[in-house]
Structures are given as structure tokens and as C-alpha cells.
Amino acid sequence: MNTIEREVDVLVIGGGTAGPMAAVKAKQAGPDLKVLLLEKAHVKRSGAISMGMDGLNNAVVPGFATPEQYVREITAANDGIVNQKTILAYAENSYAMIEELDRWGVKFEKDETGDYAMRKVHHMGTYVLPMPEGHDIKKVLYRQLKKNRIEITNRLVATRLIVGEDGRIAGTFAFDCRTGDFHVVRAKSVVLACGAAGRLGLPASGYLFGTYENPTNAGDGYSMAYHAGAELSGIECFQINPLIKDYNGPACAYVTGPFGGYTTNSRGERFIECDYWSGQMMQEFHNELSGGNGPVFLKLDHLAEETISTIETILHTNERPSRGRFHAGRGTDYRERMVEMHISEIGLCSGHSASGVWVDEHAATTVPGLYSAGDMACVPHNYMLGAFVYGRFAGVSAARHAQVHSHAAVAASQIEAERQRVWAPLLRESGLPPAQVEYKLRRMVNDYLQPPKVTKKMQLGLERFEAIREDLDLLHARNPHELMRAMEVHAIRDCAEMAARASLYRTESRWGLYHARVDYPERNDADWRVHVQLHKNAAGEMACFKRPLEPYVIAMDQDEHAAYQKLRIHKEAVPA
């Protein structure tokens, strides 16, 4: 096994959605810069959009919505805890990004006149743009990477960021999951785009890789940002999604809603006004699931044959195409039976909820030279289009930084320490298999952190995560592939500890099910209308603190603020 050192100007880590965009935009902003895109899998098919996407969940298209309306919608959906500037920056740049993707060849649905065929799914405004032929999005991105001559390395797993002696970012450490070679990549600026922490909770099936998120995104990005000293935010605002039971695809009210499908209880009755995913919606979903009218279903059986076959074509060829096989195996036909739903394992993901590395409206983190975008960067409800827009911001910012800074000096001891940590599982003669440690860790996450959250349980969870920290020194890998799994266990453990600490810190309930604390059931705006930040403090310990909200740039009225508090459909009392 070798050690390979190289030097670039801009390094982008993660070649899924935000990463390729960041790399292209960095190169366009500084054509003389050496830009490297470093990916754990293969950029052709990596990340959440590996097989395409069903639609844009948050498109701000003129004529349908304004950036200001979008900021109000997300401020309400995220219970007020947002840095509005970051959301406004997204909203103002969202349409230009759709047009650019359209020019690049991404197919969005249009009406007869060639306008985007927008659909209403959110509680207040219209933001969903379907892309039933969105299979080729990765191909389109790949073409742009080639056209802009971006250098790519596949199958390199980044493990820790390199921090220079002056506190600036200096690159990353990585290893090759096929050869075990250790890589030291020095850079003047770094974009972290490693996606969600998708392997935190254990799916009810017990299958480690049956997660909602692409399981390649194990939380590596969160862990790397933390160890580099970056501030993270909103970690306690978990990601929990309504999914098809046992299958990890969304039941997809977004796709079926505009066709007339909806979420019901076992009596076939609607119980929520709006299927847009929010913590409040998930709370109602959870109540229905565990109440007498449960479980919950996706109802399509009332729709016309033509409509159902259109839905099938979309859902069974795009995004999560193995869905059709799952239904076939269970004998579920949308025409005849409602589809049973359940809630997902917990994860961290700002694309869907709000947990991520703290970034400003230029995608800058709190570490000089480090930028972040996509699911792992805290811009609530950012989804795919947000990953592209912030990918662009991050790429441009990273290019500018690299144009005016040199490489930071790095202590040799830092390199040696990381090489030893990474190679240790391969060099040990025997030890614990990574899959076994991961299973136990993630089961503990379910046992102790799955909402509703209970103080004592989370404290016990922390004890278990501490005990598992010691097991990390016993992990054994028989080959570089197992080494990848072993190092992922390190990251998952960090994320589990973050999830517990941030949740314990915020002593109130907020965001519906995402942060429902049994011992503090009320929302407490007097003390908690703040961001909860998490970082590694001067003593090297994981610590939380409050960050005041920036003053809103878009004023909210009371009705808007409360819009997402009233999702349950209340039946009129029928006189006997």
C-alpha cells in the first residue's frame, strides 16, 4: 500500500449533485485553476440522483411564485428557525439554474405552450416541477464535467480534512477503496458535498443498506466538517420521511398528488391537508400510524386506468425504479389496493429538513477556505435544486478563495496520525467485523434517538455511543472494501453522538416529529427561537451553543407563521 500526494487549487469532495456543479462553476470562474473532483463511488452514477429524479421539489418559477413567497413558505415549514438570507439567495437563483439545466439537456415537464408545468404540493405556494423523463440527469452532468475538462478521481474515500497550521483549510486525506492506497490531496480551497448522513438509523427491515438515502452517504461529510472545526447547525431537526413500508422509496405523494393520489388512514380517509414533507406533517403521520385508524396508506385505487399507468411509468422507471419489482413481489397493484406506508429511519439531511454544516449565502462555512453545498449544508428544505444552486455558489466562492490564497502549511504529524488511523483496521490481525459494529450502533440509534425523544433514553444512548467509540479501535478489515465500511462506522458514530447532544441541548419541542421531546412537549419561543450550533470546542469536546437568528429579511405575518401548525383535517362533529 502506497502513500500518494498531490496538489490542486480547488478540491471538490463528493461528485453526486452539488459536487459536479461546484467543480464546473469553479473552473468557469477560474479557468486557470486546477480543479479536482474526488468521489467515493463513480461520478457517472453516484449520489441521490443516481437513476434520475421525479421532479424539482422547490422550483421558484416566475408567474407561479416569487422568491419572497418561497422564503415565507420555508420559514413557516421550518418553524421560524432559518437564516432567511441563505434561503432568499437560493430562491433568487433558482430559476436561472433551471434554465441552465434545461439548456444542458435536463428534461423538465412543459405544457403545450412550452412553459414549465408547475404543480402545487406545498401548503401555501406552487413549487413542484415534475421531470418524468429525468433519468439522464447524471449523464448531463458528466458531459459538463468532460466539456469543462474537470479532473476526476473515482473510488477515493475522503476521511478527514487537512487543516493548515494557521487554521485555514489545506486539503483532504483519502484512501482508495480498491487498493488501500493512502492519499494526501492538498488544496487552497475545498468544497464539501458528501450528501446526507443516511446510515444513521437502522431501517425496520434490519437491512443496513435499505436506507432512504443513498447509503454511500454514511455521514462522512458531517464527521469531516466537525473534525475540521466547522460549526454545524440544526442537527436536532432530524430527517424522517414517509415511505412505502419495507421499501425505501418515497410513497411519492408529490408525483401522485397532482394526479389525484393522496395519503389516507386505513379507512381510506384523508387526515392531512397537505402532503408536503415537514416535521408537522410527519407528526400527524406518526399519530395516525400509531392510533386506531392506522396504518397509513397511499391511495390510488380510485383513479382511472390511464392515470394509473402514467403514474406507474414514472414511478417504476425513474428515481427508485426497483419499486415496481417490490410491488410485484407483494402482489400490490395500484388499481386494486392502497399501498401501505411507514416512516423511515432517522437521518441528518438539510436537503429534506435542516441538519447540516453552517453556511452563509455564499456557501462559506466557519472554516476559512472551506465551502459546503447540498444535503450536508444547512439551508433548510434545499432538495436537488438547492444542491445545484449552492453547488454553484460554493464553486465560485472556492475559486475566488484559491485565486488569492496560497496552500496553507501543514504539520507532518497530522499526516502521519491520519495514515495510522486509516490503515489500522487493515493492519490489525483480527478484530470486530465492521458490519457487526455498524448494526449494533445503528440499532442503538433507533432504540435511544428515534422520536418521540426522551431525555433519559438519549443520555443512555450517549453512554452506548461512548462504549462503541472504544470498539472503533478493534475494527478489522480484510480488504480495502471492508476498510471503507470500517471508516464509515467512525463517521456514523460521530453523527449519532451529534444527534444525541444537539437533541438534548434544545429543551423544547419543535418541527413536529423531527424534534418531539416528551419531557418538554411545548414549543418555547422565548428561549429557543435560536439556532442550535454544534462544534468541537477548544478542549476538543463536542459542544453546543445558541446562535441568535439573523433578523428576517422578509417579514412574516402571524397567519403565515402558523400555517404549518394546522395540517390535520378536523372532521365536523356530526350531530347524533
Binding site: A41, H42, K44, R45, S46, G47, S50, M51, R155, C177, R178, P203, S205, G206, Y207, L208, F209, G210, T211, N214, P215, T216, D246, Y247, R320, P321, S322, R325, F326, G329, R330, E429, S430, G431, L432, P433, L474, H476, H481, M484, R485
Partner: protein, 82 residues
């Protein structure tokens, strides 16, 4: 310091991805499915010149099946969630 020792057992598992050996042309140099898999769980058996699933760590996402030039790959739902 003494190192703890570990006793280990091999456990069998049925894997969700099947390769049709008749159709697979890995012996002619094809590695497409191995290249595209985001979880890096497919490999080529060099003695037989055929692709196979080396690790039961599958997201049943299907790039392997979609991109295989000869239609040799079949992705099933993993048994635990079938």
C-alpha cells in the same frame, strides 16, 4: 498490552443481484456494472471471467442492470424486505 482475540463465523446470505453467465462478457474486458455501482459491491471473478455480487450491501438502485450492455444483470429486492 495484550490484544483481544476474536472468534469468528462465516454466515451465508442470499444476494439480490444475479448475473447471467451466458450473457456476461466480462471475459472480453467488460467491467461496466462494477464501475457504476455506487456501493462498490460487484466484482469480476477472474478465473471464470464473469461478474458477481461480492458483498450483500445493495441499494437496489439498478445502474448495474440499466447500464449492462448485454442485459446480463437482474436486480431483485433483498430478501429481508421482499
Amino acid at each position: 498490552m495484550s490484544f483481544p482475540t476474536f472468534s469468528l463465523a462465516q454466515q451465508r446470505t442470499s444476494v439480490p443481484v444475479r448475473i447471467d453467465d451466458e450473457k456476461c462478457i466480462a471475459d472480453k474486458g467488460c467491467t461496466v456494472c462494477v464501475d457504476v455501482c455506487p456501493l462498490d459491491v460487484l466484482a469480476i471473478d477472474l478465473t471464470r471471467g464473469k461478474a458477481y455480487m461480492a458483498f450483500d450491501e445493495c441499494w437496489y438502485c439498478m445502474p448495474c442492470e440499466k447500464d449492462c450492455p448485454t442485459g446480463a444483470v437482474q436486480v431483485d429486492i433483498p430478501y429481508l424486505l421482499r
